[in-house]
């Protein structure tokens, strides 16, 4: 539904890499300059272009921050991410946007956020904007992938990192669970109607939606599929 973006600028804006750092193994934190007049809502993404390639990345900074930040999973053999991982400060890129509708809406129901990998990006932006949710199911492969833990922990009543590999370490994280986010939703989440915000791998979205249809049919479901 890209055709209906409100206030999205279709014309590209030139931006510069301000800094690049490692957030976790294989996860890149990229800070870019903020084009004049650029406004967005937490949960929206930009389309970033470099050398003829364009990919979508979700903003993770708060709406009022002076620069824009992204958190990017390095994909093995990925055409864009293998370039971004070594991009120097000062390099020029272009972006369009903001795009998308994966934004938080206050509601009388409790909000359940669920992510896999860098699908946590919109929830970082929401947390920095002061959004408070009931539960975050944060799926990662390894405990070492859990960057920005404190920020997210402070934004939800229940922070539930779900570690699908390296089982022992999952237990050493406060609130950590072994397994997938959908296992948690299927087994531990109490019955009721929730607002679900699902972001990341399409398989997770599918697994969650099947559980929601079965166990939480009164809920609302918002999704952002990364791949």
């Amino acid at each position: 539904m890209g055709a209906v973006s409100r206030a999205a600028s279709a014309s590209p804006a030139a931006v510069e890499v301000v800094s690049r750092r490692r957030l976790a193994p294989g996860v890149l934190g990229l800070e870019i300059s903020r084009p004049p007049g650029f406004r967005f809502l937490p949960g929206q993404f930009v389309r970033l272009s470099l050398g003829g390639l364009t990919r979508s990345y979700t903003l993770t900074n708060a709406p009022g921050d002076p620069t824009l930040t992204l958190c990017i999973r390095l994909v093995a053999g990925g055409r864009m991410t293998t370039r971004l991982v070594e991009i120097p400060a000062g390099a020029r890129l272009s972006i369009t946007g903001p795009h998308g509708y994966f934004t938080f809406r206050a509601s009388p129901r409790r909000a359940v956020l669920a992510s896999t990998g860098t699908g946590v990006a919109p929830f970082l932006a929401m947390a920095r904007a002061g959004v408070r949710a009931y539960l975050l199911l944060r799926g990662v492969s390894r405990a070492g992938d859990l960057h920005d833990d404190d920020l997210l922990r402070s934004a939800v009543e229940i922070y539930a990192p779900c570690v699908s590999r390296s089982a022992d370490k999952a237990r050493s994280i406060p609130g950590g669970h072994r397994g997938r986010v959908s296992d948690y939703a299927g087994e531990r989440l109490e019955p009721g109607g929730y607002d679900f915000y699902l972001c990341g791998r399409s398989e997770m979205l599918g697994d969650m939606i099947r559980i929601i249809d079965e166990r939480f049919p009164e809920s609302l479901v918002y999704t952002e599929s990364f791949f």
Binding site: S5, G206, I209, D213
Partner: protein
Amino acid sequence: MKIYTRTGDGGRTSLFSGERVSKADPRLEVCGEIDELNAVLGALAAALPATMADQAEVVRGAQGALFAAGAHWATAPGSPRAEALKDLGGEEAARLEAEIDRLAASLPPLERFILPGGSAPGAWAHVARTVCRRAERRAVALLAETADPPPAYEQTVVFLNRLSDFLFVLARAANREASAAETEWEP
């Protein structure tokens, strides 16, 4: 990205506003009609000759407008999500009116019914017109059933009505361009 998520296997799907609904929901019926119309318009635009590039552009503009309209019908009335959607306004319908007037001025007046057909682009325009009328009927039916409908519902109905008129004159113009004679109906 995997195209199949299997999440629709149970006959349910998500509205833009987050509700999980049956695929038989009348809102999805309207969305499906709009989607089908959009696809037929794509075939029409592809079939139009290079000499009718301006009209192909109008058709593509209508495709964009239908996309925006579909998002409104996929949103539960009153949902805060509706605020995120582009207002439909009346601009697209006005654009079609101007184009109808322009095309109609170059065509001989119609005195009898013509059979839908002629050249390939003309025939596509007729197919699109009939699909458009069906979309309009579904939209009108749901509009009538909806208490306190959002303005986009009515704007869609107006737009679809204008679009089918446009498609009718476009069919005639395309047939004229292709020197395909119009077959009048002999009762």
